[in-house]
Every structure is written in structure tokens, then in C-alpha cells.
């Protein structure tokens, strides 16, 4: 285990813990995505790992060495952890190049050329941050973190400030850079798409507690509770024999006639297909169709019993 977090707890105010208890570990070279709602404590978690916040209790171990426990506290200056912050990434009084080599040990200077090429910034070395686009700034931040060959890379919502057009290409580029440099990474985000596209494993965090920690596929197909299930995609709710089941939209098929009938509320053209929103027994349902359907018309639906997902009936109360 490369990074190990055991029993981590953190609160800013006494009786309102942000992180109640967190145990998990990461293998070398893995990309982990830490998924949680805004304000759930994602940034706080990264600050604890990097030593910018003290922890209440627990152990943080990196590469076999204890960074933080009851007795030990390695200063943030001395942890080899790269941190790409959510906002304000570059020093405004320094050029891009100066930002990247800021306080850099001599031995790392040799990577500069490679890093700047890898991040596609070669033409921009002498620009000041305000002369760079958001994406260029993001890449520069990542280059600045990576050039120091960090033992661990922490990315705090690196895509949140980007246009969605530009975002995909930057996401791919960052992925490429991280994978090429084989850097162990924790990516914090609230966007499920980013997680699914980049991460080897996803960690879902809610109410101060880890909910599920698994690879994207298992997460989607075998969510541990309704919260995790809903985060990864739309869910349609259906009651059978007084039990609440769920089913994913893509498992539904439109048929000529069946018992399950839906009133169409909206029908969006989504390019490759139409997304249909309708009501089924007062629940809002989604499904896909290759063709447009008329609003307020009734359609019939079919699905396989095996595609139903079941959670404890209390689940949805628990998370609302």
C-alpha cells in the first residue's frame, strides 16, 4: 500500500466533524477520484493529507513513512506532495516559467524542458498568468506540481473553472501526463463524468464517511446504497410488492404495449438519441429512445427483472 489513511477524523468546530472517520489506501501509480458534494470536505481532506490542516486523530502514511499521527507531524514544506489548488493557481507576479520553477531544487531543473513540452506550454514561458487562458493556467499548475516529482499528486477540482469544450481536451492531456509520469494521484471532483473517465478507483464520500470505494464499473453496476447509485447516473424508481426497486434508464425499452405505461413530459434531442422524461406513478422516470416521441403521449415500457437494483427501503430517507 502506497498511501494509507487510517481512522482520519477532522473537524473545524468541536461538535461538527467534517470527516468522521476515513480509512482507505491507494496503490502506487493509481489514480483515485474522490467524489463528494460541494462543502462535503473534499478540499479539507486534501489539506490534511498535505499537512496544511491538522488532523484530529488518525494516521496518514505515505510510502511506508508516517506523515501524521498522534506524535508525528511532518511539516507541509517537507512532504513531497504536489497540490494543485482549486483556484488561484499561479502567482500573479511571476511568469509562467518562474511559476513552474518557483523554489525548485536544482536537481529537478533538468525535467523542465520535458515538462513544459508535455503540458504544451512551450510558447508561453514568458507570459504572466493574466495573459494565459484558464486551461493554460491549469496545465501550468500541474506542471509545477509534477516537475518536483512528487510522491503523491493532489488535484483539487482541476476542471471546475474550465469551459466544457476545452475541459475534455485538458482532462485528456492531464490524464496523459499523469499516466506517463506514473504519479500516484488523488483527484477531487464533484463531477461524476470526470471521475469515470480518469480514475482507476472512485471514492464516494458523504456525511463525513466513506460510502463506497471501488472501480467505476463495479460502482455503477453494484452500488452499495441508493446515494452511490444516484450519483453515478439517473435512476428510475419502481415499487413492486411494497418494495422499492431501482432501474437505470438504459435498461428500459420502449415497446408497442405493456403494463408499464409512462406519460411523456419532455423529449430532448441529445444528438445520438432522444432522452425522454416522463412520469410513472408520480415518480420521474428517464429513458432513451432513438426516435422522438410526442409530449403528453403515453408510451409502454419493458425491462428485465435482473436489471432491477434493490436497496433497503430506508436508504433514501437516510440520505435526504
Amino acid at each position: 500500500m502506497y498511501l494509507e489513511v487510517k481512522g482520519l477524523a477532522k473537524s473545524y468546530k468541536k461538535d461538527k466533524p467534517i470527516i468522521k472517520k476515513l480509512d482507505f489506501s491507494v496503490n502506487r501509480g493509481e489514480i483515485i477520484s474522490f467524489l463528494g458534494e460541494s462543502g462535503s470536505g473534499k478540499t479539507t481532506f486534501l489539506k490534511c493529507i498535505s499537512g496544511l490542516e491538522n488532523i484530529d486523530s488518525g494516521i496518514i502514511k505515505l510510502n511506508g513513512e508516517i506523515l501524521n499521527d498522534e506524535n508525528i507531524f511532518v511539516m507541509p514544506q517537507n512532504r513531497k506532495i504536489g497540490f494543485v489548488f482549486q483556484d488561484y493557481p499561479l502567482f500573479p507576479h511571476l511568469t509562467l516559467k518562474e511559476n513552474i520553477v518557483f523554489n525548485l531544487e536544482n536537481k529537478y531543473f533538468k525535467y523542465y524542458k520535458n515538462m513544459i513540452e508535455l503540458s504544451g506550454l512551450d510558447q508561453l514561458e514568458n507570459r504572466y498568468p493574466h495573459q494565459l487562458s484558464g486551461g493554460e493556467q491549469q496545465r501550468a499548475c500541474i506542471a509545477r506540481a509534477l516537475i518536483r516529482k512528487p510522491d503523491l499528486l493532489l488535484l483539487d477540482e482541476p476542471f471546475s473553472n474550465l469551459d466544457s469544450n476545452i475541459k475534455f481536451s485538458i482532462r485528456d492531456e492531464i490524464y496523459k501526463i499523469i499516466k506517463e509520469t506514473k504519479t500516484t494521484t488523488i483527484l477531487v471532483t464533484h463531477d461524476i463524468n470526470d471521475s469515470m473517465n480518469i480514475a482507476d478507483k472512485i471514492l464516494i464520500f458523504k456525511a463525513g464517511v466513506l460510502q463506497q470505494y471501488d472501480n467505476p464499473h463495479n460502482m455503477y453496476c453494484e452500488p452499495i446504497n441508493c446515494y452511490c447509485a444516484k450519483i453515478l447516473g439517473d435512476l428510475n424508481q419502481i415499487e413492486i410488492d411494497n418494495k422499492i426497486y431501482y432501474i437505470r434508464p438504459e435498461k428500459l425499452q420502449i415497446v408497442k404495449n405493456s403494463d408499464i405505461k409512462l406519460v411523456v413530459e419532455k423529449c430532448f434531442f441529445q444528438g445520438k438519441e432522444y432522452k425522454i422524461q416522463g412520469t410513472f406513478k408520480k415518480n420521474r422516470w428517464f429513458l432513451f429512445s432513438p426516435h422522438s416521441v410526442e409530449i403528453n403521449s403515453e408510451i409502454s415500457i419493458k425491462f428485465k427483472k435482473t436489471d432491477l437494483i434493490y436497496f433497503d427501503n430506508l436508504c433514501s430517507n437516510y440520505f435526504d
Binding site: S50, L52, M75, P76, Q77, N78, F83, Y88, P92, N103
Partner: protein
């Protein structure tokens, strides 16, 4: 082209209005330009040849020392208070502004007295440690000491901007530096200082202006600055023309400083923009506690406590000679003219800034720049300009309409102190996004309502700051009041000055005491107002 654009724009009434007002504001200075004699003027040549080099050198020397001490007393305490939690922090956060309440000349006179052979310091040593009393027996009236004293009197200008800037920089950059392996000291020098430099420079700019215009203190210390040259031409040599020439020259030097300040400012303009997170105060480590207390205490001790106590002791000494009725009358005089003038200053400033904001014309950007020029001209010279101006007007009307009235006095105050009132309001306005204006317009607000319903409420702390700072400066104002006041009119400052130059410092104590007390009271309000701005923006 530009003119055509103005004449056809929807805002031409505003643009023309602001042009007229700017013309009025600059009129006293323009009058001087009109009177500018040719450079052949013998007095000017004479001064140029004999004294100006010396005067210039000592001016710059004094500037450098004063700036050094202003930075020394301002930056570190501001940093400590903005970042660390420690017992006494709240106290220092208030008292470090207080030296601003003490006029520079009083600071100089008082310390000269304290340090003199008959002052408490030397007397104490003579009485108790006679053997070493010779070591403290010095002539303390040196330019370096003067620089130190002026630094003490003026550092709050730098302190207040640093305090705001350090708080606004917030935790993000500091965290980033830590993550990149910088120690706190390194962070301070490599990140915090460069990021705050526009703020620091704008604070230093005020210090520089004050030093360039100081006359009483420098004369007393026998340091001849550029302003001494102006007074030598004006007073001793009786050559008004040469004085005007020198003032214009000084104006150009100041314009140069202004240009540098602007350039610097624009380069870093973007950095506050959307910093939302307020820096959380760190707990001060035990081993640094004492040092921090000392660093914060020294500027307060030297800049306020000692002179204040000395003044209080002088009051006790002269208690039976104080004319309380006179004291009350002068207090009322000072307070009423300062209030009136500072309110007008703020109104005029608001007018210019608002017109600039909603016309978005580059012409208005320039006008609201140049109205600050009055601050660069020594008060006595502005007084001179107004005398020339109004006596000309009066003569052409052959009656005494304006001249020698409060109107002229207030006019001169406004011309001189617009810059002081402008800077806090302007920087606050800059922090608010354009979309406030646009939304309000879209919701149907005209210019007056825009000001009343949006800009005054959201910039109220900045407006309060501007009022207070201008008021305190006016309370201390001397040269303009001396020359332009109406009959039988004294202020606390003029009375203090009259006693001081008649070598009756103890008698002046009661008057300076009131200046300091009123100033301090307002500065405490100011501190709250500044802190609110930090938290709100």
C-alpha cells in the same frame, strides 16, 4: 474626434459637467501656470545655481530615510496582525493607526524637546546615572532622526494598506507556498511582499507627498528640502514668480511618482479579483510571541504613547494658563470647517468617480486622475494661487464677494485634499464588478438612483474611511488655514503652531491634545470600518 464623440454621446451633460468641475478644482493651480514667468527670472536662476542641488539631495535623502522607517514600522506589524492570533492583537490592531492623529510638526517639536538637554531622557540620566549621562548627551536634531520621526508620524499610511492587502491575499497563496516547500519567512519575502507591493507603493506615495510638502518640521530640524526652496523664494526673497516656478517643477516630480505608482498598480490590478477565502489566523508560536509583541509595540510606543504622554504632562504644567473658552471655540472652529470640507471632498470625489463609471469615457478617466494634483502642491502655494485668482475676480467686480470668506478656505481645502478622499473610494469601487451597474441599469435605475441605492450602500465603509482620513488631515492642516482664513478665525492647528514657533511648546499642548484626541477617536472608528471592508469584500 474625441470631442466629437463626447458631444454626440448620451452622457454629454455629465461629461461637460465633470469637465467644468475639474476645471474649477484645477483653477488655482492653472492660475499659477498662467502667472508662470519666463525661466530667465533671476531669482529662479540664482536658486538653481546655488541651492537647488543641495536641496534636492537632502530632499531625497530625507525621503529615503522616511520611507525606510515607514516600511519598518508598518509592514511587519501589519503582517503579524493580519496573520497571527495572540493576546493583545486586538489592542495593537487599533493603536497602530493612532500616530496618524499627531501632526508631523508636533511630532518633531515634541521629540526635539524630549531628547533635548533639558528633556526627560537626558535629565533622567543626569539625575540617576550621572556617569553615563554624557553618552546620551547628543545633538539629536539630525536629518536621520527627523526621518525616523516622520516615519513614525506617517507609517500608518503604509500600515493601513498593508493591513488590508495582507488580509485579502488570504490563505491560498500561503498554502501554495507551503506546499511548494517555502518557509514562512521565505513566503513573506518571495510571495507576500511582491503581491502586496502595489498596495505598499500606494501607501508610500502618500508618505512621499507628505514629506515633500512638510515645512514646519524640516525647517525646525535645519533640513532644507525642496519645499524650503519654495519658501525661500516666496518668503525671504519675496519673489512669487520663482516660487511658482519651483512649485511647477515639484509638480512634475510628483507627476513622475504618480506615473510610477499607476504603472505598478496596473500591473498587479488583477490579483484581488475573486479571492474569497479569508485568511484564518494562525496561533503564534510561543518562542515568537515576545518578539512579535515588541515589533508591534515599538511603533505605537514611539509614534504615539511617548509624544502623547509628553503632551499630557505639558498640559498639567500649564493647567492654570489654559483658556478653556478659547479651547472650546477653536475646537468648534476646527471641527466645523473640517467636517464641511471633508463632506464636500467626498461628494466631489463621488461625482467624479460616478461620472467616470457610467460614461466610461477615457476623457473622464483623465479628469478624475488630474483632480488629485492638488495634493502634490504645497498648501501655501495653493493659497497663493487662490489669492491671485480671487483678487482678480474681486477686482473685476470691484467688491469683496468671495475673498476672505469661508468659501475660499473650504475651496482651497477641497482642491488640496481631493486625492486623500479619492483613493479609498476608488479602490473600493474597483473591487465591485461591472455587472452591479449593468444590472441596476437594466432594472431601470438612472444615475442618481444608481449612486443612492447601489454605490453608496455597498461602498459605505470606504466612504466612511474617506471621510475620516480627509477629516483628520484637515484637522492638522496649517499653511492654507494660515493664509486664507477669515478675520478672527483660529483653529486648533494654527494655535498650536503659533505657540510652537514662539517657542512656547507647553502652552500648545492643550490644543494639540484636542487634535490628537479627536483624531484618535476617529481612527478607532476607521479601524472598524477598514476591518469591515476586509471582511465584506
Amino acid at each position: 474626434m474625441e470631442i466629437k464623440k463626447i458631444l454626440f454621446s448620451n452622457n454629454k451633460r455629465w461629461i461637460i459637467g465633470s469637465f467644468i468641475l475639474a476645471f474649477l478644482v484645477l483653477l488655482p493651480i492653472l492660475t499659477l501656470f498662467v502667472r508662470l514667468p519666463s525661466l530667465e527670472n533671476t531669482t529662479f536662476k540664482y536658486l538653481w545655481d546655488t541651492l537647488l542641488i543641495d536641496y534636492t539631495i537632502s530632499t531625497f535623502y530625507l525621503l529615503i530615510i522616511t520611507c525606510f522607517f515607514s516600511l519598518l514600522f508598518a509592514v511587519l506589524p501589519a503582517w503579524i496582525i493580519s496573520n497571527y492570533q495572540f493576546a493583545g492583537r486586538k489592542f495593537f490592531d487599533i493603536v497602530l493607526y493612532l500616530p496618524l492623529a499627531i501632526p508631523t510638526y508636533i511630532m518633531a517639536f515634541t521629540y526635539a524637546d524630549i531628547l533635548s538637554f533639558t528633556g526627560p531622557l537626558q535629565v533622567f540620566f543626569r539625575k540617576n546615572f550621572h556617569s553615563i549621562s554624557d553618552f546620551v548627551n547628543h545633538d539629536y536634531m539630525q536629518v536621520e532622526i527627523l526621518g525616523l520621526l516622520m516615519g513614525l508620524a506617517l507609517y500608518p499610511y503604509v500600515y493601513s494598506v498593508c493591513r488590508v492587502s495582507f488580509s485579502l491575499i488570504g490563505s491560498n497563496y500561503i498554502n501554495l507556498s507551503k506546499n511548494l516547500g517555502l518557509s514562512m519567512t521565505k513566503t513573506f519575502f518571495k510571495v507576500i511582499l511582491p503581491l502586496s507591493s502595489p498596495a505598499i507603493i500606494s501607501g508610500l506615495f502618500l508618505v512621499i507627498m507628505e514629506v515633500l510638502n512638510e515645512y514646519g518640521a524640516v525647517k525646525y530640524f535645519g533640513v532644507n528640502t525642496y519645499t524650503s526652496g519654495i519658501f525661500r523664494a516666496y518668503g525671504s526673497m519675496g519673489d512669487v514668480g520663482a516660487a511658482i516656478q519651483l512649485s511647477v517643477l515639484l509638480l512634475f516630480v510628483v507627476l513622475l511618482f504618480m506615473y510610477v505608482e499607476k504603472k505598478y498598480h496596473s500591473r498587479f490590478k488583477f490579483y484581488y479579483s475573486s479571492n474569497s477565502k479569508i485568511q484564518k489566523l494562525s496561533i503564534l508560536e510561543k518562542k515568537n510571541y515576545l518578539l512579535s509583541i515588541v515589533i508591534c509595540f515599538i511603533p505605537f510606543l514611539l509614534g504615539f504613547l511617548i509624544p502623547f504622554l509628553f503632551i499630557v504632562s505639558n498640559i498639567f504644567l500649564t493647567y492654570n494658563q489654559i483658556d478653556f473658552l478659547d479651547l472650546i471655540e477653536l475646537t468648534l472652529n476646527s471641527v466645523s470647517v473640517s467636517t464641511l470640507a471633508s463632506v464636500i471632498v467626498v461628494l466631489v470625489v463621488l461625482f467624479f468617480l460616478m461620472v467616470e463609471k457610467f460614461t466610461k469615457s477615457s476623457f473622464n478617466r483623465y479628469t478624475s486622475e488630474v483632480i488629485s494634483l492638488g495634493y502634490a502642491v504645497p498648501g501655501a502655494v495653493i493659497g497663493l494661487g487662490l489669492i491671485i485668482l480671487f483678487t482678480t475676480i474681486d477686482r473685476s467686480q470691484s467688491s469683496i464677494v468671495f475673498y476672505g470668506s469661508f468659501f475660499v478656505l473650504i475651496y482651497a481645502y477641497v482642491v488640496r485634499f481631493l486625492a486623500v478622499g479619492k483613493s479609498p473610494i476608488k479602490s473600493s469601487l474597483e473591487k465591485h464588478p461591472e455587472s452591479y451597474d449593468e444590472t441596476a441599469k437594466n432594472l431601470g435605475l438612472g444615475p442618481f438612483n444608481l449612486l443612492k441605492k447601489i454605490h453608496i450602500p455597498i461602498n459605505k465603509f470606504a466612504i466612511l474611511t474617506a471621510l475620516i482620513v480627509t477629516f483628520i488631515d484637515l484637522l492638522k492642516e496649517l499653511p492654507i488655514t494660515l493664509i486664507l482664513r477669515p478675520f478672527n478665525f483660529d483653529t486648533l492647528a494654527t494655535q498650536t503652531y503659533e505657540f510652537a514657533i514662539e517657542e512656547m511648546i507647553p502652552m500648545s499642548a492643550a490644543y494639540s491634545f484636542i487634535i490628537i484626541v479627536i483624531g484618535s477617536f476617529l481612527l478607532i472608528i476607521l479601524k472598524n470600518s477598514i476591518n469591515k471592508q476586509i471582511n465584506v469584500s
